[in-house]
């Protein structure tokens, strides 16, 4: 019986911890999770954090030129954060 109580007492805090892990991800985390995939798409030259036209935090994906096929594969929203596509041109060392 004592063992069962002890086990239950151990489980309760672990469940609470599990709830913490379900907290919404930050925009930094969401960007980090997806940027390698974006950067492997043809024409993607940058992924950063900025603002969408309404002034909300957004993930900004930079393209080297018009890339309709790549743009079609990039979602408009990732976990509640807007994803904005910008054509910035190739990035070169100056």
């Amino acid at each position: 019986m004592k063992t069962i109580v002890a086990v239950i007492l151990l489980i309760i805090p672990l469940t609470a911890l599990g709830d913490d892990l379900d907290m919404p991800s930050s925009i930094e985390e969401v960007k980090k999770q997806h940027e390698a995939r974006f950067l492997n798409m043809p024409g993607v030259v940058s992924v950063g954090l900025g603002l969408d036209p309404d002034g909300n935090q957004a993930i900004i994906v930079g393209l080297d030129g018009p890339r309709p096929e790549t743009a079609a594969k990039i979602p408009a929203v990732l976990e509640d954060f807007a994803v904005v596509i910008q054509i910035i041109g190739p990035v070169k060392a100056q």
Partner: protein, 332 residues
Amino acid sequence: MAEDLSTIRGILSRNRDNLLKRTNVVATGIGYKETGGTKTATLCVVCSVKKKVAPSLLSDRDLVPATVDGTPTDVVESGVIRALQAPTDRFRPAPGGVSIGHTAITAGTLGCWVTKTGQKVILSNNHVLANSNDAEIGDPILQPGPYDGGNFPQDHIANLEQFVPIAFEGEPSQCQFANAVITVFNFGCRIINSNTRYRVISLQAADNLVDAAIAKPLDPADVKDEILNIGPIQGTVQGELGMAVKKSGRTTGFRTGEIQQVDVTANVQYGAGQMALFTDQLLAGAMSQGGDSGSAVLDENNRLTGLLFAGSDTTTIINRIENVFSALGISL
């Protein structure tokens, strides 16, 4: 009495040297006399001075006379007159914002002077001072850079002191496991008498934080610890979204912009088809072109926030100054 222009030219010519000897007088010319802030129709000899001083504080020798050979004079405060030098010129002492480069490159920008173990050194990019990893410590650095007419040894200002190597894509891999596997594979190739051998390369090189290098001046007298068209640096500040920034560079001179993105990961092209991945960068609007690389980026209060190194038609990519300082072990 109003004189005609040719008469006053003669008067000025006779009196010019005498007027320019006076303290504060920096220029002489002919203009319409101003009285009480209003321009009159009277031609006069205009003496431009560094600073207007009450006549009672000047000796007779330094006081501009009310008339010279019967023609009235006027005293106008112009400040010190300096020659306007282009950033591509030779500067000694050299401030930030001017042309510089390793002997094997075209030209970049001297960002600013920073301190390494108690000594002032030049901060710029690896691809400006260390030819994108292809340089030896101690190599000569020219101001102006070779493209702007910099020659060795006349324009030799400093020696390469240290650089942070740039990890390019497609370079030999540092992965021990992959290299071990391929060694076995190549051994197999040898056993079956194949002439083919394999090499491990990184498809995705390690992340880069900075494109940075420093150079030690040959003569401490060549240090001008400020930035052309900006002035002295007033500390450092962390770059943030929306921050107004400015830079002074070799190609486009003084330009302003705004930080539009932070935490930027970008694939940057280096000539000859080399690519390098940079993380934790700042991105501003277009405020630079080729040759501006190495420019120091400052906020509105002249606090240093970044080191410019790349850009596209619409953007400028900037290393965070805290990453530059920590990679090179430097401070202001």
